[in-house]
Each structure stands twice: as C-alpha cells, then as structure tokens.
Symmetry: C2
Subunit: 397 residues, 2 copies
C-alpha cells in the first residue's frame, strides 16, 4: 500500500505529453494553452475618453468659464483626424480617441454648446476623463500563460487579441470500460441481483471535460473477455479507465488480465479511503486506470488520479484539484492506516468561513448523496477530526 | 435609476416558462429538471455483502471455531438460489446478495476452507458486513427535484435509476448582437480607432451553458440598421442580448431603436457599478437585454441579469448566482449612490476563511484581470469596506 503522494508521483513520471493542436475560439474552454497568449496591440490603443464631452487643452480652460470653437468630433470608430489648437475643442464620445493637441476631456454636463461654440464652465485637470494609451496593457505583454486551463472568463481576452484560433494541447483519447457480470445497460430494468452501469456514464461525463471519450461495452467477469477488451482498447487510445474487478476476489479479473497482457503495474493499493484497490498500469504507451467498482470510489479516484493524469498529458500547470482550508460543521471519524478523501459540500458562514458539510455517508456506494458533492475533505489516517476544526479540502472543477 | 432587487423583480415577472423537452443522459449536464427523479428500485436491491467471505447463521457460529458445510456460492450478478440451513455456509463475494437463511457474513480472513468444509474461526454479529436491502434508498423516493440544475456529479444517480432519457426544460434560443462602429471581427487587425468584437464571443460562451446561442453580425452605430437587426432577431428567438449603444450619447441607438420598434422597456438604469445603463425590454414575447459596451460591464450584467432570466425561463429553483460571505484581503472604496458588484477571485486561509482578492481594476474595461475572476463582491452604495471585513459575495458557475 503506497501513500497518495507516491501514487501521484508515479502518474507524474509515467505521463507523456501530447502534441499541440489548433482549435477555434468557440471550442477552447477547458483546453490547455500550448502557447503564451500575448496582447497584439496596446489597450486602449489610443488615449480614450471615458465621458461624453469635449476634448480641450488644459491651459485654454484654466480661467473657465471660457468659450471655445468646436472644430469637429471624435466618435467611437472614427476619431478626429486633425489637431486641437489653442481656443479649439472637439466634441467627443465615450470610448472615442482623444485628438492630438488635447490633453483633457470635460464632461458634457459641465459645458453648454450652441452651433460651433461651446462654453466650458469649469477648469479641467490634465488627463482628466482620459484612459491613456496602453494603460491596461502594452502590446507584446503575455496575458495568459502556456499551461493554463482556458475558462469562459478568458474569452474576452482571447477575442480581443485576435485569438480566433488557439494553440492548445491535443486532448487525450479516453476509452471507458465497466466490468462485472451483475452490470446491465442503463436502459434495461435490472434483475434483483443486477445493477445498472452508472460507472461508465459517470466516468464519461467527468472525462469529457478533459478528453475525447468513448464508452465500451460492459465486460462480464471473465478473464479472456476482459483481456481481449483491454488489448483492443489499449491499442487505440491514450488512456483506458476500467471500473470494477480490482479487488482480490475470485471474480476480480482486472489485475490478472493486465498481468497476462504484460502491462506494467505501477501501483495497485493506495492508502486512500475510498479507493484502496486503485490500479495504475501501462500497456505500451497507454495509461490504464483500474478503479474500484462502487460509484463513490470511482468518483474519488477519478478526480484524484485519472483527472490529474489527463490534465498532465496536456501540460496543465496545475493538474491536481485546487486545495484549500475550511471549517468542519460535523466531526469525522478517521480510518486506521489509510488517509480518507470524503465527498463534501461547502457553504460559507456569516464570519466568512468556508464550511464543510460531509455528505450523509452510508458506505462508499451511496452515490445519491454524492450528487451534491462539491469537493473532498482530507482526513489523515488515524486522526479523528472535530466539529469546528479546520480541515484540508479539494475543490471539484 | 432602480435598485438591483427591483430589476430582478422585473425579470421574475416578465419571464415566461419554456415547455419541457426530452433529452439523452449524455446531453443532460447543465439542463434543468422538469420532473422529479425517483429511485425505481431499492438500493441495494438485496441484502448485500460488503466483504469476500462466508454467509452464515449467527447462531451456528456463536461457539466458534466451528466447521460448516459449503453448499454453494453467491457472486455479484449471480446469487445463490437456495436457503442456508443450520450447519451450512455459502461462499460470498463483495457486492453479492446474502442468501436467504443467512444473517451474517464472516470475512474470508477469519475463515479457513478446504473442499466442501469451512472453519469459521470467530463468532459473527447479526447483519455483520451486510448492507441491508434499501438501506441507501427505497424504491419511489425522490432523489433529485424538479428545478435542480443537473451537474456531472448527478450522472451516477440518473444512470442507476434508468434515466437514459430525461425530461428537462427546453433551452431558450438566444441571439447575440454587438453594436458599435468601432467594432471589427476578431479575425481582423483593428485600425487604431477600432476594437475587436470580444463582447459577442464572451456572451456566447457564457450563454451556451444555459441556452442555444447564435451570434449575429456586428451592427454599426446606425438607427435603421439596428432597428432592422433587432426586429428580425426578436421574431426568431426567446432572448436577444445586445452589447453597446445603451448610453445616452448621440451615437447610442439601442434605446431609440427599441422605442421606435414599440418594445416595452422595463428598466434602463440600475443602481449598479459596473452596469448602470443596463436595459431590459420585451418585444412581443422576446426578452431583450441591452448591456453596456465594455467587456467587464457585459460580464457582470450578464451574470446578474441575463443568466438569471435564462435559468428562470427553464424553471430553475435557484436562478440567481450562489451567495456567500468572505473576508476581504484589501479595502474597497464604494461608489456614491450605486451598489457595486466587482469581479473578484477567492482563496482560503489557514483559519478556514474564504478570502476575497479584488482584481486589479483599472476601469471597468479591464477584461484581462477579469480572466481570473471567480465571482463578484458586493459593495453597498456609499459604504467603504475595510481589509479584514466580511463581505457578501456571489459565485460564478
């Protein structure tokens, strides 16, 4: 049995980086940047007015009220081409370029205009109501870094700098296989000793955020069928995720199948609850995860191990779940000899604490309460946690 | 100028519920349940063994060690059909049904078997290592409720109860329109007084989580063009989101166009920074949002208003952003006369507080820092907030 950190080191060591891929902006969210994103222009690209009003010269309006001659206008998309000289003003709109010669904008409310004349009623400070060129960013600046996961809040930045095509890492191809003679398709009504295949569907939904997924047919508890399914899958994908068959019972064939196929098994017992019998192996270049059969174990081990590997293959800077600290609302009993990562939901209290609600937990197969999970709480082996104590947590993404 | 809460009341009042729609499980994440989801079977469906071992009768093993006759086996997917009588045991695997007559499972490590005989070395307690039938859920129980947003952590539950097709609300059809003569397509290199169309791309990316989106061509600052674009769009979608043209400048045509088309305008000035000139109107049955032109204002007003309306149309129980409390790392200056909702990112500290990092904020157009935003922090009008103080926050989803 190896610690979680050792297991993650194996992932780190065995994961091969995928090549880059060019995709369109509209398909970019969730992908990992394979290039630094740079501003291709100054922002603002010109001295920009923040107000509707008049572009003026500060020295002209020092003894306001004064009358100036309106020599033109500057609107968004069409600046005033000429120069503002002494005694002159240019009508200007919010977002429009401040014309050459002017060094201040007086808001329209503090002016009065009539035909070609405007009365500037108040003096103006230099640069007033103006965002100077490049105040937000200078052309060439790196604004998003290689290895960052693209989020929807980054879209405005990518669009603004012309990234209608983006270099990201290729997504891994993931195949998903459930094994177990008791498992039937979700469209079937299970007999009394059968259950529906929730694992493949859950893994597929989790994995499709980071990968191109394909769900394979259910394999019965039969060594030869499992071997041939694994052999075929592993020859045609970057990562194979198997659920079930990883214990040491007479009908657990995942490890025997991997051994007989000559796969290299890196770990098969992790000091983790739920998820102790998680298997990580490699057949050729294909990563293989053998996750325990019950749905909550599948979810936890997917998020801790498989997700990390899928993001690492794409060169993600931070492939592991985001970590934090929060306050327990209820005590948690620890497990002897194994660290626990238990599904939890989070709230905040009026003192600004993040609080942890562990999910009513009747055995690790209770996927119904898992439906509301937002992350995991870490319970060190043998260390019971009290209500009110601060615990380490991991946020699902 | 109306308060944010009044603006949200207008949305509430004017939003019409969309009909239901049947979709496949693999397309369900992000959709809103139009039906209660019920367990269609007990879970577990039988008394389930939690261990590999032997199903026994407690009374038989009271004076362990005792020898019992092995009369068969129960494995996952194939239970033992018969009955366990006095002096008998059934070999059982993890996850398999406990046979009739047996009332306890002794783990294999505390037994020794040879051919048809097993020595049970230790006495067993009633129900030991057994999860009783229906312990997790009883058939008929509502496990997910109408109005909940389907998340990926709900997939195992939906799959387990045979929801390969699900009744959800129809997604609204949303059209997106940017207006402004300075705006060019993102694949173009803007001239000095132009900017790329980041707003439509951002709104599309935000909205596609809740709606079917279509991006319309950019409309120049011209009343007639805008009128005809709005008329056409509104006749063929549930919601039209316009960015730009909502101020009161000479080139702001959104409100004049809506008025000339006979749209009913419910509000056009909200006590919100950024986002004061947000417009909410209706033309026929189509909701129309006019969002301010700069990208951060677009993001904030989308999340606060448009997102709420899109979720409300689908009957979501909680259409507004999740609310919470967190501790400010830095002071925030308030705005006189207007509440502020400022983009922020969140972390936790070692005391379990959720902490607020307001984004370096050089005017509301700084979409580059917005790229890292995770939510909004509420700053009441005229009330400066100090570092260390607890503030109200809203989480992006």
């Amino acid at each position: 049995m190896i610690p979680i950190s050792d297991a993650l080191n194996f992932l780190d060591r065995e994961t091969i980086a995928l090549p880059a891929d060019e995709i369109k902006l509209e398909a970019s969210v969730g992908r990992i940047l394979a290039e630094n994103v740079r501003a291709d222009l100054d922002l603002p690209p010109f001295d920009r007015s923040q107000m509707d009003g008049f572009a003026v010269r500060v020295e002209d309006v020092r003894d306001a009220p004064v009358d100036l001659e309106i020599i033109g206008e500057s609107v968004a998309g069409k600046g005033f081409g000429g120069e503002v000289n002494s005694g002159e003003a240019v009508r200007i709109m919010t977002g429009a370029p401040v014309p050459s010669g002017a060094d201040s904008v007086q808001m329209v409310e503090l002016t009065e205009s009539d035909g070609d004349k405007v009365t500037i009623k108040n003096a103006a400070k230099p640069e007033q109501n103006i965002v100077p060129r490049a105040a937000e960013v200078k052309a060439g600046t790196v604004v998003l870094e290689k290895g960052e996961i693209i989020t929807k809040n980054m879209i405005a930045t990518l669009a603004s700098f012309g990234y209608y095509k983006i270099n990201v890492s290729k997504r891994p191809c993931v195949k998903i296989l459930a094994t177990g003679s008791e498992i039937v398709d979700i469209s079937e009504k299970p007999a009394e000793d059968q259950i529906r295949n929730s694992n493949s569907w859950m893994i597929a939904e989790f994995a499709k955020k980071y990968a191109d997924v394909e769900m394979l047919p259910i394999i019965r508890d039969d060594l030869e069928s499992l071997k041939s399914a694994i052999r075929e899958a592993a020859s045609s994908c970057d990562c194979l995720i198997i659920s079930g068959g990883v214990s040491v019972g007479d009908y657990d064939f995942t490890k025997p199948a991997l051994r007989e196929l000559g796969a290299e098994i890196f770990f098969e017992k992790v000091s983790l609850k739920p998820g102790k019998p998680t298997v990580f192996a490699k057949l050729g270049e294909t990563l293989i995860f053998g996750l325990p059969g019950n749905p909550v174990s599948v979810a936890v081990t997917f998020y801790v191990f498989a997700r990390t590997a899928l993001l690492r293959m794409q060169g993600a800077k931070f492939p592991e779940l985001n970590r934090g600290f929060a306050k327990l609302l209820h005590p948690i009993k620890s497990t002897k000899g194994r660290d626990a990562l238990l599904p939890a939901s989070f709230s905040t209290d009026s003192a600004g604490h993040l609080t942890i609600e562990t999910l009513r937990f009747s055995g690790s197969s209770n996927f119904i309460t898992f439906a509301r999970a937002e992350g995991l709480v870490f319970v060190p082996a043998g260390v019971d946690l009290n209500a009110g104590e601060v615990a380490e947590i991991y946020f699902f993404d």
